[in-house]
């Protein structure tokens, strides 16, 4: 594919608001995970909650979209000069030539969950203040952001569980390649809701402790909230060897099971192979792999097999979910942005909370932070439904 520059980014998660907070936490190895105090949840688990969302007020003209997920999205849009950068892009390309490709897995479903507690005892009706399309509907996020950023181009929300905000890079790249837009805003948001907290609990996939990817004693995920956005544009400078670019995207389906990954990591390997092929690179060109690394027994084992099969056991890799938790539908953009920070600042993050590497896993899993020249990173995201996506980010040589 034609490389696209990640010209601007913004991020919010349990580590704080803005790129600097995430970078600082990565360097200082401080986690965003803490015992769950969200809403009325009675589960004994650690989560990565974004503080201050209850006090966010959506821009006055967009109150119909008020829900935790859109508040989180607005908080991210306000960081790192992102709105201003989109404003400049509107001037340059025209608002109708900028596409919007966002992802979320659960959108504003929390509003529906809360509304179901307030049904009319006689008729069963939901309360009149419940607004379905601005909250629960999957598109609510893009409808909100499109108006918030005054964009007038194609817009869609991709929703394929935990691979969603990696896949949006592919949707954007194809739309730009086909000439349907000149630039794109990609990213997304996923916020706490009872559906995911109690849903993952029903599958026995939640860890009581902060999650420990690749540890022999790993026992499940820590759910986190997160949002992030990035602007993708064609490079205007053929000699640009400094900017971090989207170099490749690979996607696949497991065709195995709705909520269990293929045991051999078949789909994971296919998505990584396709990402390399899309970037025109061999495995040796990748300096660091940011794993999906959820800390479930099955994910880490399957991903490890796929990594060793394709890369061997020499490429440094780690999961950063010990910092942010698994931000589910936002994990793709969260980790794409973390990967970009790693390239810019020459950082290989060693897994947080992992005490030792499971001897049954054979990839070169990093436990301590290291400084290194990193030119290209692969970032993996695998989701329920067996939808997988890997992206390659890095500098042109």
């Amino acid at each position: 594919m034609q490389p696209l520059v990640l010209s601007h980014m913004s991020i919010v998660n349990s580590l704080g608001a803005g790129l600097e907070k995430t970078l600082e936490a990565l360097r200082e190895r401080s986690t965003g995970l803490a015992p769950c105090r969200f809403e009325s949840v009675d589960l004994d688990i650690h989560v990565g909650e974004v503080s201050g969302l209850d006090n966010v007020t959506l821009r006055r003209d967009l109150s119909e979209f008020d829900c935790r997920n859109n508040r989180l999205a607005q908080m991210a849009l306000e960081q790192d000069g992102f709105e201003k950068a989109v404003g400049s892009a509107r001037q340059l390309y025209g608002a109708d030539r900028i596409g919007l490709f966002l992802g979320t897995s659960t959108s504003g479903i929390l509003q529906s969950e809360l509304a179901y507690r307030r049904r009319d005892p006689d008729t069963g009706a939901l309360p009149e203040d419940f607004l379905y399309s601005g909250t629960q509907n999957i598109f609510s996020l893009a409808a909100f952001v499109r108006r918030y950023l005054y964009l007038e181009g194609p817009a869609m929300v991709i929703s394929s569980a935990c691979s969603t905000t990696s896949k949006v890079f592919g949707n954007a790249a194809r739309m730009i390649a086909a000439g349907l837009c000149d630039a794109a805003v990609v990213g997304g948001a996923d916020s706490f809701c009872l559906t995911t907290l109690y849903g993952f609990h029903s599958l026995n996939l939640l860890s009581r402790e902060p999650c420990r990817p690749f540890d022999p004693d790993r026992d499940g995920i820590s759910i986190g909230e997160g949002a992030g956005f990035a602007m993708l544009e064609k490079s205007r400078d053929p000699d640009d060897t400094d900017s971090v670019m989207l170099l490749g995207v690979g996607e696949s389906c497991d065709a195995y099971h709705l909520s269990t990954p293929h045991p051999e990591g078949l789909g994971a390997r296919l998505s990584m192979e396709r990402a390399l092929s899309s970037a025109g690179l061999g495995p040796e060109a990748i300096d660091y792999i940011n794993l999906h690394g959820t800390a479930t027994r099955t994910n880490d084992a399957a991903e490890d097999r796929a990594i060793v099969g394709l890369f061997g056991d020499a490429t440094p890799c780690s999961s950063t979910k010990g910092w942010t938790g698994h931000t589910l539908g936002a994990s793709g953009i969260t980790e794409a942005i973390i990967s970009t920070l790693c390239i810019r600042h020459g950082l290989v993050p060693g897994s947080l909370h992992t005490r030792r590497v499971d001897p049954a896993l054979r990839s070169r899993y990093m436990l301590d932070n290291q400084s290194a020249v990193i030119n290209r990173v692969m970032s993996n995201s695998f989701g329920f439904g067996g939808n997988n996506c890997s992206i390659v980010l890095g500098r042109l040589r």
Binding site: S112, E152, A177
Partner: protein, 265 residues
């Protein structure tokens, strides 16, 4: 403007039972009479998964398989794009009901079925396809957004892409909050170049408002178009049924439109 070719169509909705029968209705050769659509079981799924399939999955798989059969293609080889506004309202309803009780016991099957890409997951299992698959949503413009995404992918990656658009009514109390008129699904198999199976060529262009959204003359079909997001596809399906060159305008977001030129080939 980008150009793609159509090789196959699937269609299932009230009084629209498959493309071969429905094209006579859409081209005005037969009268339209609305009857509830019957959703077939997908016999490609292994029995454990078949038992778990919810109506949304049955609908999406039925129209997708029909379109690929029409195109004469092996279902496992096609890239897929699933587009839906409603998603699976029945499953969301069951989860919200469970979460409103003191026990908050969510069924694991319900939970994994609740993801917007559940039909894509079942599609992979049914067809044994490892091809890329997108699941998207864009309110009432979900079909138009899916068509745009599928056309962009066909063009950019040079591969056949099957678009599957579907929507179903919600159970109460959600149906009152978001009324959806009927069960409706459709699928199109798109290719970047003409093949011996191509029967139509589409030109797609996106732009700000220029002209009015295409409507249907039959009042029953027009009612379907305005009450089911996936049925916003009907003006295009009507144009494809007639075989004569025509232009179709689908509304997307606010002042944004998708313009389609349809030629038979």
């Amino acid at each position: 403007m980008i150009r793609v070719f159509v090789e196959g169509i699937g269609l299932l909705g009230p009084g629209l039972n498959g493309w071969n029968e429905s094209r006579l209705i859409l081209s005005g050769k037969k009268n339209y009479a609305s009857l509830p659509a019957e959703l077939p079981d997908c016999d490609l799924l292994p029995p454990p998964e078949r038992r778990r399939t919810v109506p949304a999955v049955k609908l999406a798989l039925a129209v997708g398989i029909e379109a690929l059969f029409h195109a004469g293609r092996e279902p496992s080889e096609s890239v897929t794009v699933f587009a839906s506004s409603s998603g699976d309202g029945e499953t969301v309803h069951q989860i919200c009901e469970a979460l409103a009780t003191p026990e908050r016991e969510v069924s694991p099957t319900c939970f994994h079925n609740s993801v917007h890409n559940a039909p894509s997951g079942y599609w992979g299992i049914a067809t044994r396809s490892h091809q890329p698959s997108t699941s998207l949503c864009a309110y009432d413009a979900s079909f138009a957004a899916g068509l745009l995404d599928a056309a962009a992918q066909t063009t950019a990656d040079g591969c056949a892409v099957t678009l599957i658009a579907y929507d179903l009514p919600f159970p109460e109390p959600l149906q009152t909050a978001c009324p959806i008129g009927a069960v409706f699904g459709t699928a199109l198999v798109l290719t970047p170049n003409a093949t011996p199976r191509s029967f139509a060529r589409l030109g797609l262009e996106v732009t700000k408002v220029r002209g009015k959204t295409t409507r249907l003359t039959d009042t029953g079909l027009e009612a379907l178009r305005t009450t089911v997001p996936a049925a916003r596809s009907l003006p295009l399906l009507e144009a494809l049924s007639s075989g004569s060159p025509s232009s179709v305008i689908l509304d997307c977001h606010e002042d944004f439109r998708l313009y389609l030129d349809v030629f038979s080939c």
